[in-house]
C-alpha cells in the first residue's frame, strides 16, 4: 500500500486527536508547571521538630541573650532572648546573621599548619594531638632557654573563664605579655581607677537617665551594648528624655537625636570643660556631692574658670558661646543628666583627657553611682581558682617588663597597650617576641597602621591563631587551631559593655561542632598538661566544660536554664563607700591624669600644607569592624552610597568637594601620611566642611567573596597616636590629601 501525502496527514490528524484524548499533554503541562515552580536545584529547608536553645551572642562585647530556633539538629534562626537583662528580645543585624558564620564558607574546619610562605594560603591539615605537641615543643624550648617572657597573647577580652585561663597559663608559664584589644573601656577603666580608686567597668543607667550628652558616641550606631542602646533610645522617646549628639558628622545617632551640635573634631574635651565652666560659674553643680564627696575641686575649678570660658571654648570647638551656655544649663538642670564619650562604636580608647573631662561633668552634677547615672561596676568575683604555683622560670619571666609598656614607669596605670606592641617588636629595643597567640581578636585587621602591624608580625617567628574563621590574622599565622564557633561552645560572658549591674551570660552549644574544631579553653588545658610541671598542676581540670561548671558552682544550673545569671543581691554603693582613692573621695584632678594641664588637642598625624583635609572614620551598625567581619546578609544591607560593588564612598561636604573639583560618584585618591586608597566621592551636607569621612569595617582581605576586597580598611590609612597619660591610642582621625584619581 502506497503511503501518500493524504494518508500521512490523516495519520498525523489521528495522532493529534488521539493525543488530545490521552492524558499526555495535560499531564505534561501539569508536571512542567510543577517543575518550573519548584526547580529541583532550589534548596528546600528540611522539615523536622522545632526547638529553641537559649544562649549568648559573643559577636561583639554587647553580650545579648539569644534564642536560637532549631529544626532537628539544624539552627535556622537567631532571635533575641525575651526577658534577658541586656536586650530583652531585641537583636541587631549582625546577631541575626550569625548562622551565616556558623554554616558559612569562612570556617576553619580543622587544625591547619602553614606549608607555604606566610599569608600564601597553603596549609596542611594536622591532628589536634600533633597541634598540641607542636605548640608544647616550641613553648618548652623557649622556657628552657629562659625566654618564657617572649611569648605574647592577644586576647579580645580579659574577663570570663577563657581569658582567665590564658592569663593563668601565661603566669604559670612565665610571661607578662597578655594583651587585651583596646576600646573606650580602657580609657573609662583608667578614669575610674584614678578618679574613683575603683578597679571596675563603667556602667551607665541609660534607661533612667533623661538628658544624654553624647560626645560622639554612636548610641544607635553600635556603641556599648548595641541592642540595649536601641532599646534605651526608644525608652527616651517615650519618657521625653533629651539626647544631644556632639560630633562633626550627621551620623544616624545625630539624626535621631534631639539636637545635633557639629564640633571641630578632636576638641570635645575643651567643650566638656567649657560646659563645666558654665555649670561652676552659674553654681549649677551638685553642692552636696562636691562638698562632701569630692577632692581637688578647687584646683580644677580654677583651671576651668580661668581657661574655659564659653568664648574661648567657642574658638576652639567652633560652637558658639550661647549654644555652649545653653547646653550647660540644660545639662545641669536636667533631673538625671548623663554624659558619655567614646566615638562611634567606641572601638578606640581616644584621648584620656577627654574621657576624664566628660566623666568630671557627671561628677559635677553628682550622678556617680546613682540612678540614671554612671556606675563603677566591679567584675563579678565568681572565678576563684586556687593560686598558681610558679617555678623559678615563671617567676623570673613574670618579673620582666611588658613588651607593650603597660605598667611601666611611663604608663604606670595602663593595663594593656596593644597599640604600642608593633613599634616595640619592630624597634627590638626590649626583647623580641618569639611566639604570639591570638584569640578572640583579629589584630591584622583592627589595628591601625596595618603596614607596620604586618611588619611586626613578620618578625614574630611563631604565630598561633585560635580563630574559628579564616580572618586576616589566621591567614598570616603559622598554625590555626580553630575554636568552636560561638554557637557550638560553652563560655561565660561576664557583664556586657556598659551594663550598670553585673550579669553573667552563658554562651552554650546550640548545635554540635560542625567541624574538627576544639574549644580554645580545652586546648590551653591540654597544652599546660603537655608542658607538665607546675603548668600541668595549675590546670587540674579534665576539660574546659568541667572548669566552667566547677567555677560557676551553684549558678551553673540557673544559667543553663535561663541563659544568664544576674545578681539579685546587687546593691549600689553609697557615696561614702564608693571612692577608694587616697582622699576617699572623688578626685577631680588626680595628679597622674594631667587634668590640671591646659587642653592640648591630640596631635594627629600629617601636616596642614601637604594634607589640607581631615579624615575621620565613622561606624555603622551595618558594618562589623571588630573581631568578626560582616556576614553576607549584613553586607547586603549596606547602602550604595557607602559601598557600591567593590568601591567605597567617602563622605565630603559639597563645598569642600567643589573646592577640590570633585563631583558625586567621581573617583578620588585619598592620601594620608600612612597610606593611600582609591575611593569614590559622595557629597553629604551632613558633614562639616574640611572633613572627609570613611566607614570602618570594610576593606577585608580575608573572609569570603561576599566581604573580601570590598572597600578600604580605614586602619590602613591611620596610625596610632600615643596618649601622653594613658599611652593608649588617642587618634580620632588623620590629615589627608584628596585628589582626582
Amino acid at each position: 500500500m502506497k503511503v501518500g501525502r493524504r494518508s500521512f496527514l490523516s495519520f498525523l490528524l489521528g495522532g493529534a486527536a488521539g493525543t488530545a484524548l490521552s492524558p499526555l499533554p495535560w499531564k505534561l503541562m501539569d508536571d512542567s508547571s510543577i517543575w518550573t515552580q519548584m526547580w529541583p536545584w532550589t534548596p528546600v529547608p528540611k522539615d523536622g521538630e522545632a526547638s529553641y536553645v537559649n544562649s549568648s551572642c559573643t559577636l561583639c562585647p554587647g553580650g545579648c541573650g539569644i534564642t536560637v530556633r532549631k529544626i532537628d539538629d539544624r539552627a535556622v534562626k537567631i532571635e533575641g532572648m525575651k526577658g534577658h537583662p541586656v536586650n530583652n528580645g531585641g537583636l541587631c543585624i549582625l546577631g541575626l546573621s550569625g548562622l551565616q558564620l556558623l554554616y558559612g564558607p569562612t570556617r576553619v574546619r580543622t587544625p591547619l599548619k602553614r606549608v607555604g610562605k606566610r599569608g600564601q594560603g597553603r596549609w596542611e591539615k594536622i591532628s589536634w594531638k600533633d597541634a598540641v605537641s607542636e605548640v608544647a615543643e616550641t613553648l618548652g624550648d623557649l622556657r628552657e632557654k629562659g625566654q618564657s617572657h617572649t611569648v605574647g597573647f592577644i586576647s579580645g577580652s580579659d574577663r570570663g573563664t577563657v581569658p582567665r585561663l590564658f592569663e593563668r597559663f601565661l603566669t604559670v608559664y612565665g610571661s607578662p605579655n597578655l594583651i587585651r584589644t583596646p576600646s573606650i573601656i580602657d580609657s573609662y577603666e583608667l578614669a575610674l581607677h584614678l578618679m574613683q580608686g575603683a578597679q571596675a567597668l563603667p556602667g551607665f543607667d541609660f534607661e533612667n537617665a533623661n538628658f544624654i550628652l553624647s560626645f560622639g558616641s554612636g548610641i544607635v550606631d553600635g556603641w556599648g551594648s548595641p541592642v540595649r542602646m536601641f532599646r534605651a533610645n526608644s525608652v527616651w522617646r517615650d519618657t521625653g528624655a533629651r539626647v544631644i549628639q556632639i560630633e562633626p558628622r550627621l551620623s544616624n545617632t545625630a539624626a535621631k537625636s534631639d539636637k545635633w551640635i557639629p564640633i571641630n573634631p578632636g576638641t570635645e574635651a575643651a567643650l566638656a570643660l567649657g560646659i563645666a565652666h558654665v555649670i561652676i560659674a552659674e553654681s549649677l553643680y551638685d553642692y552636696n556631692f562636691i562638698d562632701n564627696y569630692s577632692s581637688g575641686f578647687g584646683d580644677w575649678k580654677r583651671l576651668v574658670i580661668d581657661k574655659y570660658s564659653p568664648d574661648s571654648v567657642a574658638t576652639i570647638t567652633g560652637i558658639d558661646s550661647t549654644t555652649i551656655t545653653a547646653l550647660a544649663r540644660s545639662f545641669a538642670r536636667a533631673p538625671k543628666p548623663l554624659a558619655i564619650c567614646g566615638r562611634g562604636q567606641g572601638s578606640t580608647p581616644g584621648s584620656f583627657n577627654e574621657c576624664t573631662a566628660v566623666h568630671a561633668l557627671n561628677a559635677l552634677v553628682g550622678n556617680i553611682n546613682k540612678k540614671g547615672g554612671i556606675f563603677a561596676v566591679a567584675e563579678p568575683d565568681y572565678i576563684n581558682w586556687p593560686e598558681v604555683e610558679m617555678d623559678a622560670t615563671a617567676a623570673s619571666g613574670m618579673q620582666k617588663d611588658r613588651l607593650d609598656g603597660a605598667g611601666s614607669k611611663k604608663y604606670p596605670f595602663s593595663r594593656y597597650l596593644l597599640n604600642r606592641l608593633p613599634q616595640a617588636i619592630n624597634s627590638g629595643e626590649k626583647y623580641p617576641l618569639k611566639t604570639l597567640f591570638v584569640a578572640g581578636a583579629n589584630p591584622l585587621y583592627t589595628m591601625s597602621d596595618s603596614k607596620t602591624v604586618k611588619k611586626a608580625f613578620d618578625k614574630v617567628p611563631f604565630i598561633v591563631s585560635f580563630s574559628s574563621y579564616m580572618d586576616e590574622t589566621a591567614q598570616n599565622a603559622d598554625l590555626i587551631l580553630p575554636n568552636h564557633n560561638y554557637l557550638e561552645r560553652y563560655e561565660d560572658i561576664p557583664t556586657p559593655a556598659g551594663m550598670p549591674k553585673p550579669v553573667i551570660g552563658l554562651s552554650r552549644p546550640v548545635v554540635e561542632p560542625q567541624f574538627n574544631t576544639k574549644h580554645t579553653g580545652d586546648f590551653i588545658i591540654l597544652l599546660a598538661k603537655a608542658l607538665g610541671g607546675t603548668m600541668g598542676s595549675a590546670f587540674a581540670w579534665n576539660g574546659y566544660n568541667e572548669c566552667l561548671k566547677e567555677t560557676l558552682g551553684y549558678k551553673w544550673r540557673v544559667m543553663v536554664e535561663k541563659g544568664f545569671w544576674s545578681y539579685p543581691d546587687f546593691f549600689v554603693q553609697t557615696h561614702e563607700e564608693s571612692f577608694d582613692t587616697a582622699s576617699g573621695k572623688f578626685e577631680f584632678a588626680p595628679e597622674e591624669t594631667g587634668a590640671l594641664k591646659p587642653f592640648k588637642p591630640v596631635n594627629i598625624e600629617g601636616d596642614k600644607t601637604n594634607y589640607p583635609l581631615l579624615l575621620v572614620p565613622y561606624d555603622s551598625i551595618r558594618l562589623a569592624s571588630g573581631v568578626v567581619g560582616d556576614p553576607p546578609f549584613v553586607v547586603k544591607s549596606v547602602d550604595d552610597t557607602v559601598l557600591k560593588g567593590t568601591d567605597v564612598f567617602i563622605e565630603i561636604n559639597p563645598k569642600t568637594a567643589g573646592e577640590h573639583g570633585l563631583r558625586e560618584g567621581q573617583l578620588a585618591m585619598l592620601s594620608t601620611p600612612v597610606g593611600q586608597a582609591k575611593v569614590k566621592v559622595h557629597l553629604f551636607d551632613g558633614i562639616m566642611p574640611g572633613l572627609v569621612a570613611l566607614p570602618r569595617g570594610l576593606g577585608h582581605t580575608a573572609y569570603d567573596e561576599y566581604l573580601a576586597g570590598k572597600g578600604i580598611n580605614f586602619n590602613e590609612l591611620i596610625g596610632p597616636v600615643e596618649d601622653p597619660v594613658s599611652g593608649l591610642d588617642a587618634a580620632w582621625g588623620v590629615r589627608v590629601k584628596l585628589a582626582k584619581a
Binding site: F11, G15, A17, G18, T19, S22, P23, L24, W35, D47
Partner: protein, 267 residues
C-alpha cells in the same frame, strides 16, 4: 529550497495526473476519492490508536521511574504492637506540628537488637540503627514545597481520619514500589495511579482538585470552603463568556482563584 522545489513538482504532477482522463473530470475525482478514503481513514485510526496507546500506556511507563524503599516495612505487624493506632508513630508534637515519617528515635527502643530474622530487619539494625543513620524513606504523600498543609487542622480540629487521604496503608504488610515522576521528582501517588486522573476513593489522588472537592462541600462554618480549582475556574470563565452575569460564584480579590488569598494554601 530543494525540498520546496520537490513539493512544487509533486503538486504539479498531481494536478497534471488527471490530464489523460480530461473528458470526464467528475467521474475521475469520484474514482480517486473512492480509491483513497479507505487508507485515509485507516491511517487516521492508526494514528489515533497509536497516540492513544502512547498517551495511556507507554507515556506513564516512561514518566515514572520505579524505586524500591531502602527497607521494607510491615504496618500490620506494628499496628498490632501499638495502642494509639497511626498516631503512636505518626504523632503530633507538643507544638501541634506533625512528625510525619518516624525517625530512628522512635524505632530504637525495640530495634536496638535485631528482632526476628527478616533480611530487612537485619539491614535496618545494621545499616541504620547501629550507625545512627536515618532511613531515607521515600514518602508517597510528599506534596511540593509550595503547598501548605496542616495535619493538625484536619486531624484534630476537623476530626478527619487518616484513611480519607492516606488510604489503607496501615493495613499493608509491605511497602509498594515508589514511582517517582521524572519531571517533578514527586511521587505518582499525588497525581494518582490512574494516568487519566480518575479516582474511586478519596485517597486515590491528592491534587488541588481533590483538596477542593472537600473544601467546596464541607459545612460552611469551616472557613476554607469554596476553593476554586483550576478546572472549575476554566468552566466558570467559559460560562461567563457565553452568558455574562449568570455565574453564581462570588469573586474575591484574587484574580486567579477569585477568593481572598492564595497564600492560605500556597507558599
Amino acid at each position: 529550497m530543494s525540498a520546496l522545489d520537490d513539493n512544487a513538482k509533486e503538486i504539479a504532477e498531481d494536478a497534471g495526473g488527471g490530464g489523460g482522463a480530461s473528458s470526464s473530470p467528475e467521474v475521475n475525482t469520484k474514482e480517486q476519492d473512492k480509491g483513497s478514503t479507505g487508507p485515509v481513514i485507516l491511517f487516521f485510526i492508526a494514528g489515533l490508536l497509536a497516540s492513544l496507546i502512547l498517551g495511556w500506556i507507554i507515556f506513564p511507563k516512561l514518566l515514572y521511574s520505579k524505586k524500591k524503599q531502602p527497607i521494607d516495612f510491615n504496618h500490620v505487624l506494628h499496628m498490632a504492637e501499638v495502642e494509639d493506632g497511626c498516631e503512636s508513630c505518626h504523632f503530633f508534637r507538643e507544638d501541634g506540628t506533625y512528625s510525619g515519617v518516624p525517625k530512628l528515635d522512635q524505632c530504637i527502643d525495640c530495634h536496638e537488637e535485631i528482632q526476628g530474622d527478616s533480611p530487612d530487619e537485619i539491614k535496618f539494625v545494621e545499616e541504620y540503627i547501629s550507625k545512627g543513620r536515618e532511613v531515607p524513606w521515600l514518602v508517597y504523600s510528599r506534596q511540593p514545597d509550595c503547598v501548605f498543609f496542616s495535619h493538625v487542622a484536619h486531624v484534630k480540629i476537623a476530626k478527619m481520619d487518616c484513611v480519607t487521604c492516606h488510604g489503607h496503608i496501615g493495613e499493608s504488610e509491605s511497602l509498594k514500589i515508589y514511582e517517582e515522576n521524572r519531571i517533578t521528582g514527586y511521587s505518582r501517588d499525588i497525581w494518582g495511579k490512574s494516568i487519566g486522573g480518575f479516582k474511586k476513593n478519596t485517597w486515590d489522588r491528592m491534587k488541588m482538585d481533590d483538596c477542593a472537592e472537600c473544601h467546596r462541600t464541607t459545612t460552611a462554618n469551616i472557613e476554607r470552603t469554596g476553593v476554586k480549582t483550576p478546572t472549575k475556574r476554566v468552566i466558570d470563565h467559559l460560562v461567563d463568556v457565553v452568558s455574562p452575569g449568570t455565574s453564581m460564584s462570588e469573586k474575591g480579590s484574587s484574580v486567579q482563584t477569585e477568593r481572598g488569598a492564595c497564600f492560605v494554601c500556597h507558599k
